[in-house]
Symmetry: C2
Subunit: 428 residues, 2 copies
């Protein structure tokens, strides 16, 4: 097929009429499909059903150090849970603080502590005239929502194939002491799926920051979420080692959870950081909590007792979702590949494909899809304040639907993309 | 025996020598006993072991409205968990927001939200020159620790047999707009064990407050924790109804948990409040969490499906701890009752006995006990900033030790009280 931009006005009008007829046919089907959120499919959840029966009697309730996990206490987690989360965090158990079921809550609360109490003796961020964060875009809407709620100003920085554009990052953080942090999803990034290059990690760790309490919020949500083989995954340089080697040992806070390993609603989550950062977090969290759910920590530590168990489990997860990512790739390629109106990422792991249409088409595409019964992540969600300046980016989340549902949803999506593109080309 | 204050100096010296000899004998036993924290005993935890197997297969994982409790979502809790927590909160399920395993975290975060965002449109408390709270004393150290960490100034108000001294409370809140809240443990209060009189609840609900966004933090931690019969408990007037009837429907926030119903480390907790307060909390918490552990909500809702089940369960709990409270009462009466140096409370429920020695004896008593192997709650812990102006109050937590351990600990404790009293009388 000829690329749309190369068609004559007449040809485009004919193509648009054809697409609109196809779209009307989709609408008539009364579809109800969802590609909006990164939710595991029920078949993935079934892989973790043994969790439910792994702690079932009195004698199962004790951690390896003898703690009765039914009772109060142990604010930072039982030893075996620290070991498991250290695997996901690429760190040592002694640097791990295990929390409840959500890394989102840990990240929110970590920022709240910076605002209320500063970092290791620095001035509380809430007392400053302005606090800013760097936000690689496209990025994760829930990261942005935390900052927006706290009134932290967000500065978008473009993502490259190697991570955030480090020339821009370095220039900004060197010049502006109000820039206190950066959000990073360093592996199989949400939504682009890329993994930060070693050089990017080293530059983040070593760059000169005007703010001495600059913090890298390292949300390693997809640390073990490889699509194409557990033994040939994307490799990520450890930010902790890089920061320590650069003489900035307190610059990073790492986060991870089992949300997309076991049960999203009933997993465990953790933070890893320098000894000083962990000690400060434990001290401040002492007013907020006595300890998190240690029985659920036990369940997870016994279900995934070592690296081999995690690998074997994630291989089963990959077997379920790999065909969905392949379907996305194949259908986008077939239906849009030659039209000159779209590009998208080709992740080796994680939960998303990042899609870019022509400028001024993302909102229209999402609205069209919604009216045909296909819910997508809102256009703009991948940008701070929901404002994608090009109105081009859409996050595709293929895991939740079945393959059949996904195929139907992608048929509709591609049709909507074509309509929006033809309309935009006509308007330009 | 003659009351110590009526003894001659010579007689007191002889008594002190006798007590010191007894104390030396206790020290020689190498005891290691703990009456410090309100932790349930292992036998109490065993009552809830069925929780571990009540959700064990795929088909068990769905709430009554069909939600797959393994996956993300449902920020405010599944319907059956709201019903259970409504029982503990004496409220309607639609006013309930179910959280994670700790009411302490809910309370901490509720205060953090007031500081960061104000209440229903009021000015954020953190932007005010000063924020103060009323703290009935003796009270709960973890309540005070939250306020201290956030820099909220604490004003002690004496507890009476009917709750906080309302004449003082009313005068303070009417005059000072910086007084934004009051901590209340309204039933079987921590540590006095008293339950607020209806008149106290009505006065709290209806009093004129200079701060329009004054909030009553109603920590109903011991709502169903009756020692002497589930059918003749202390009765507590509902603060929600009282506030609504007084035209102050948004003044209260209620908190409760299953920490001392099922497993302290692995229970569920909830808040109840007006529709406006719950809606605001849901909106603000949306940046912090996607949803709490719904599988654990399911476990609890199925283990305690109705009021009868809660009552039967709490009757078993009471059977275990009632003899411990009776032992405390009997031993204190026998060993200290006639000496004129101590008074204590006689609770009908809850987890504590509040003990008052002579002025300037609490720290000494706790230190003596510690050196003889008996850990008590730190003297002063029941007061803001850890400062009991009389140095007289000690919280006794009798639930964790066995009856035999408790008897040994109380022998030591009473001996230490007598030594500290004799020393104080000599010094005065």
């Amino acid at each position: 097929m000829t690329a749309y931009p190369d068609l004559s006005a007449q040809e485009r009008a004919e193509a648009l009429a054809t697409e609109r007829a196809a779209y009307a046919a989709f609408q008539a089907q009364g579809l109800a499909l969802n590609m909006a959120r990164g939710k595991p499919a029920p078949a993935q959840l079934d892989l973790s059903l043994p969790l439910l029966t792994i702690v079932q009697a009195r004698e199962d309730c004790f951690s390896e150090d003898g703690t009765d996990c039914r009772n109060y206490g142990v604010i930072d987690g039982i030893p075996e849970a620290k070991r498991l989360m250290a695997l996901l965090l690429d760190d040592e158990p002694e640097n791990v603080f295990v929390f409840g079921n959500a890394s989102l809550t840990i990240m929110h609360d970590a920022i709240a502590r910076c605002l209320d109490f500063g970092c290791l003796g620095s001035q509380p961020w809430s007392t400053l005239d302005e606090v800013r964060f760097l936000c690689p875009v496209p990025g994760y809407d829930r990261h942005f929502a935390i900052l927006e709620q706290f009134g932290i100003k967000m500065i978008p920085v473009a993502m490259t194939d190697a991570g955030p554009d480090m020339d821009v990052v370095e220039e900004l953080v060197a010049a502006d002491p109000s820039i206190k942090g950066i959000w990073c999803v360093p592996k199989y990034s949400n939504p682009t799926g890329i993994t930060y290059a070693d050089e990017t990690v080293r530059r983040l760790a070593s760059m000169a920051c005007a703010a001495s309490d600059f913090r890298i919020f390292w949300d390693n949500a997809y640390a073990v979420h490889h699509l194409y083989g557990q033994d040939a995954p994307d490799e990520l340089l450890d930010i902790g080692i890089a920061c320590t080697e650069s003489g900035n040992p307190d610059r990073y806070l790492k986060f991870a959870s089992t949300s997309k390993v076991t049960f999203p609603g009933a997993g465990i989550a953790a933070m890893a950081a320098s000894a000083a950062n962990i000690a400060e977090a434990k001290r401040l969290c002492g007013a907020q909590m006595i300890g998190h759910d240690k029985l659920n920590q036990l369940r997870h530590a016994r279900f995934l007792p070592n690296e081999q168990a995690v690998k074997a489990h994630m291989e089963k997860q990959a077997d379920i979702i790999r065909p969905k990512f392949q379907l996305v790739e194949n259908m986008l390629h077939e239906q849009l590949g030659s039209l000159g109106i779209a590009s998208w990422t080709h992740p080796h792991g994680g939960y998303f494909v990042s899609f870019d249409g022509l400028p001024h088409t993302a909102k229209r595409t999402v609205a069209l899809a919604k009216d045909a019964g296909v819910v997508l992540t809102g256009a703009g969600a991948t940008w701070p304040y929901g404002k994608d300046p090009l109105d081009a980016n859409i996050r595709i989340a293929p895991t939740m639907p079945t393959l059949e549902e996904l195929a139907s949803a992608l048929d509709v999506f591609c049709c909507c993309v074509r309509i929006a593109a033809l309309e935009a080309l006509d308007a330009s």
